[in-house]
Symmetry: C2
Subunit: 338 residues, 2 copies
DNA sequence: CTTAGCACTCAGAGAGAATGAGTGCTAACA
DNA sequence: TGTTAGCACTCATTCTCTCTGAGTGCTAAG
């Protein structure tokens, strides 16, 4: 693969990203020292090789996803963040945070705002986190709140309505039972079968207390998968997309989940033709993981058109994930100190 | 106002609701026994009086909001629900429910699904409900969860990070303090000034515990206003609307709140020109209250185009609110029994 | 191998012309 | 006096056609 050809491809992508119009040979002349005819010849070859395509005969060229792939992997030069930009990004994150979720959420919103794209946050932690506390609190006639707190600070409550009131003794038994059997257990270990065994172990209390236990199981399942999408509205106004696809995407964001899980291992750029089962044509997804104390804690991602300013937005994304990593790790360490 | 004229207006609205096209005099002939010329004369007068308008000279007539107003208030005949329809609606509501919020939420979703409109739910209860329980639960280093339960079964938790760990004694004091000073207090009584007095009453504990109290205040404020919109996506595909307006509506649904508050007193139909500050042109909002044991508990509403099937959807809405009223009241009574 | 030149293609914009749904008005009718 | 048939008129919509220009591929000369 010729050096000039790569330069031309790069120029086409750069140009197309800013204009959104098919790029002609003359426009490339500004970037590459050669006549338009030469460039045309090269472009014709790039098209044969599948990196470019023409919407119609008399139009310029548009990158294919294969073209973008090469561009992102090999050709692109990221715009390094200026000090000013860093300050701006910092100002969009909170100085302090209460839960980790809050921190990550604000980063996600900030990124959505900056890029005018949708963003996605996935926590990998739920899978590995432990139950650190379970409380049952009576709140009315036959009504109870189950409160579950996990080792990563996640809190979940669920209202539960029983067929009868629990006695003080029953509540106390449940309290102890949970302390002994569930505290410190990873969420992932609470499965249908393990729960069944547990309820059996409750002996005489089984009948009355098993509804509470099965609610607990439901709660862990709800905690388990934790993917949030922000700024979907930004996609609606993007003319690169088919509106109806965006709407159906908004209706079931769940399809992202499986995809996201596979991206905790580093910066990752995927184009829609490369992902099966993802509805939005002409889109790309960029994800980057963040971690706490050296252990992957989740990933932040960006969903936008394929024609997106990679050189600018990837540094944004990476800056945010590195800040999240720093802030979460720092908090973790000061906690250990005291 | 002539009887025939009213019939014609009614026919125009009916026709326009199904076709979405301006209605001509010939189309009206199917509904009213008169020649097209006569109908044209009458329509011209209806236009002069402001009930109809023409998009352009050679088009049929479209109702103005004044026309809709008259139609909804005086002319429309509601389609009574068939037994089948009732069954269908019933099947969309849960047989049983845990929290009242869940029940109302499912009705809201069902209504959005049926009508392909957005729906809105407002609870009037927060304002009148009492604090029935507050718990503070330590969850980690200097981290505490405040759990607040109100008399109407609402549960809210908030994670709170302090500058220091609380002693067992401090926690106990706070527990008692809350029991004595806050239990049974209406949410509305928790104001900035009342909170200030309370913290002062804590004496020596003030310094350490006041952050918890101020979090409590925040929580009550968050509980206070409770308006949820569902099915906004349905509005996006509605061609009667300006997309950008829908998007900006989705971005700040808060503007609904003030409006909704004023609608707890019965079935209410408002057209966008009648509401100031509501962004979506050409829309109408229909609301109906529901109650528990004779006391208004909230309202369910429908946000759609002005060209909406009032005769069909108003009965849907009213059926749902009456079912909610029944189910909530029933639950209330059985609770009292036992 | 590069480039100037030229013929060719084709989407998109713009100008008429044709269509037809619907109107207002007038004059005759009951 | 209210109703209606008839007719001329309006105007959004659709279509057809042409024109334009950006951009191409190919060829032949440098």
């Amino acid at each position: 693969m010729d050096d000039r050809k790569l330069k031309i491809l790069s120029a086409v992508v750069d140009e197309y990203i800013v204009t959104g119009e098919p790029v002609g040979s003359k426009a490339i002349m500004a970037h590459v020292k050669a006549s338009s005819a030469t460039i045309r010849n090269e472009m014709a070859e790039l098209e044969k090789q599948g990196f470019l395509e023409q919407p119609h005969t008399s139009a310029g060229r548009v990158p294919t996803y294969k073209g973008y792939r090469l561009y992102v992997d090999k050709l692109m030069e990221q715009d390094p963040l200026s000090e000013e930009e860093k300050k701006k990004l910092d100002s969009m994150l909170p100085d302090d945070f209460v839960t980790e979720k809050d921190l990550v959420e604000s980063a996600s919103l900030a990124l959505a705002d900056l890029t005018k794209c949708a963003t996605v946050v996935a926590n990998s932690t739920p899978k590995f986190s432990l139950i650190s506390k379970v409380e049952v609190i009576p709140t009315g006639k036959r009504m109870y709140v189950i409160l579950m707190i996990t080792s990563n600070g996640e809190i979940k409550n669920k209202v539960c309505r029983l067929e009868f009131d629990l006695t003080h003794e029953q509540l106390e038994f449940f309290d102890n039972f949970v302390k002994q059997n569930l505290s410190g257990i990873p969420l992932s270990e609470l499965t249908d079968t393990s729960i069944e065994k547990l309820t059996e172990a409750m002996g005489a209390y089984m009948m009355t207390l098993s509804p509470l236990v099965s609610e607990l199981l439901k709660m862990t399942k709800e905690l388990d998968r934790d993917v949030v999408v922000n700024g979907q509205k930004n996609l609606l106004t993007c003319k690169d997309f088919d509106q109806t696809e965006i709407i159906s995407f908004m209706e079931n964001e769940k399809e992202l989940m499986d995809f996201i899980d596979s991206t905790f291992s580093g910066l990752n750029v995927k184009f829609s033709p490369e992902t099966d089962g993802f509805v939005i044509h002409n889109s790309s997804i960029i994800t980057a993981p963040f971690s706490k104390g050296g252990k992957t804690a989740g990933a932040l991602g960006l969903i936008g058109p394929m024609r997106i300013d990679y050189a600018k937005f990837i540094p944004y994304l990476e800056y945010f994930t590195s800040r999240i990593t720093d802030m979460m790790t720092e908090r973790d360490e000061t906690d250990d100190d005291k």
